[in-house]
Symmetry: D2
């Protein structure tokens, strides 16, 4: 890990810690654990519990979307960019992820322009590596 990646990872950890104490909607991300940062990316993991699930006992699609929103924003702030304002967010749902499994969520700044940021997140099952969902997020800076 480069010195810069370590600094970014620490910054990401501080943000995620704030989510643990908040009473606003960011609390739903409270259990995400920082794993790695590189230039323009950050990775967290999340052990899926009932609080993250739908009626079928799998990752709730609304939480998937919420994680696309927040984790791509974490990629921005860990890279010293302003967080910006959401313009468009979309999620493709490929496989269910059951309570008890762990997600790896890898987010990336695909393009950072003067006024627009193009961001993506990939959700994989930590054990099998299988793709659970992908998301994209466009923010106005």
């Amino acid at each position: 890990m480069t010195a810069n990646s370590a600094k970014q990872l620490a910054k990401l950890g501080q943000y995620l810690q704030k989510f643990c104490k908040t009473t606003d909607f960011n609390r739903v991300m409270a259990k995400a654990v920082p794993v790695a940062c590189t230039k323009n990316t950050c990775t967290v993991e999340l052990a899926i519990d009932t609080e993250h699930a739908n009626t079928y006992g799998t990752l709730h699609g609304g939480l998937t979307a919420s994680l696309v929103d927040t984790m791509t924003t974490m990629a921005l702030v860990a890279n010293d960019s302003p967080p910006g304002v959401s313009v468009e967010l979309s999620v493709s749902y490929m496989r269910p992820a059951a309570v008890g499994s762990t997600l790896l969520i890898h987010s990336e700044i695909v393009k950072l322009g003067k006024s627009m940021a193009f961001l993506t997140s990939e959700f994989r099952d930590k054990e099998s590596g299988k793709l659970i969902a992908t998301g994209k997020h466009i923010k106005h800076l």
Copy 2:
């Protein structure tokens, strides 16, 4: 209100009541209040509180997406359709909605095919009628 709309509205109310008692992620929709149902649509309102907000004190984009997911599914089940499985969801964010204001969320079954359902949600400020966000949701039945 037709007899059928009244029946649908009652059904919607029962589902939303279940959200009040759940510990799964559907709990984030607990305070949505059923307002109206017609064939292929349902409308709820939500008074925005801190628990629904981001750091800026406005509706959290992740919750907007979660509401697109759940409220379009409510439109399906209130119309006696199976809930299906999410394939794709997207949200366009047009204006912030502050804590203290009330949202009107109008969801619609745009097309119900044999295997695919095309659904939309519109989020408006109850007082001004201004558009806050729009969402679309594609489910596989």
Copy 3:
């Protein structure tokens, strides 16, 4: 029709006429015929011919997307707005539209902000009124 709508319709007609003579990609919209304009909307129709079709003899999904792009831009320029630059475009495909049928394409400026425009198009079969496709288009102004 108000005087202003008539002025907008004339402007739309002039743009569409330019498409008839161009050798750039806008030529694929050449046969779209202006039908109506109101504040923030414009409607055109298109008789589907082989040149608009895929291998199955129905409206090509790539042309649907191209029409979302161009016809929402026509809604902007007919309303004296700058055309802007595309940021995101999406299309939901609901039903095929056969060669020989006619499309009504209704485009709307849903929100025109200082820097972002949110636009939509709806494609209907002219005879049956059935929804063929919907599109959204986000432009940076």
Copy 4:
């Protein structure tokens, strides 16, 4: 190149050749040149000419979308999958690509399920490697 990749590349070439002779909308892809195939991917290049451009002399956003549609479908058929029917297509536009430059378009089958295919395309400037646009395409099989 494996024997299988060579077989896929030949198949892709045959499809693209058909586009050269067609009078339907697939003609707009006629000048795409097959470059490589691997399991679940295919890559083509396209020298941007006036026929592909908008009024500004850069790649037309409608053609970008049309290429997402067709080139992801080429990835399917080159991999011996049925072409399916479009459900949803979206494009994120990151940079203009001028007439005279060459695009590398890399398309991938991200997930092939029993009833749904999730596909993506990436458009890069061949010389600089810079990202021009990304697209996703969901088809029902």
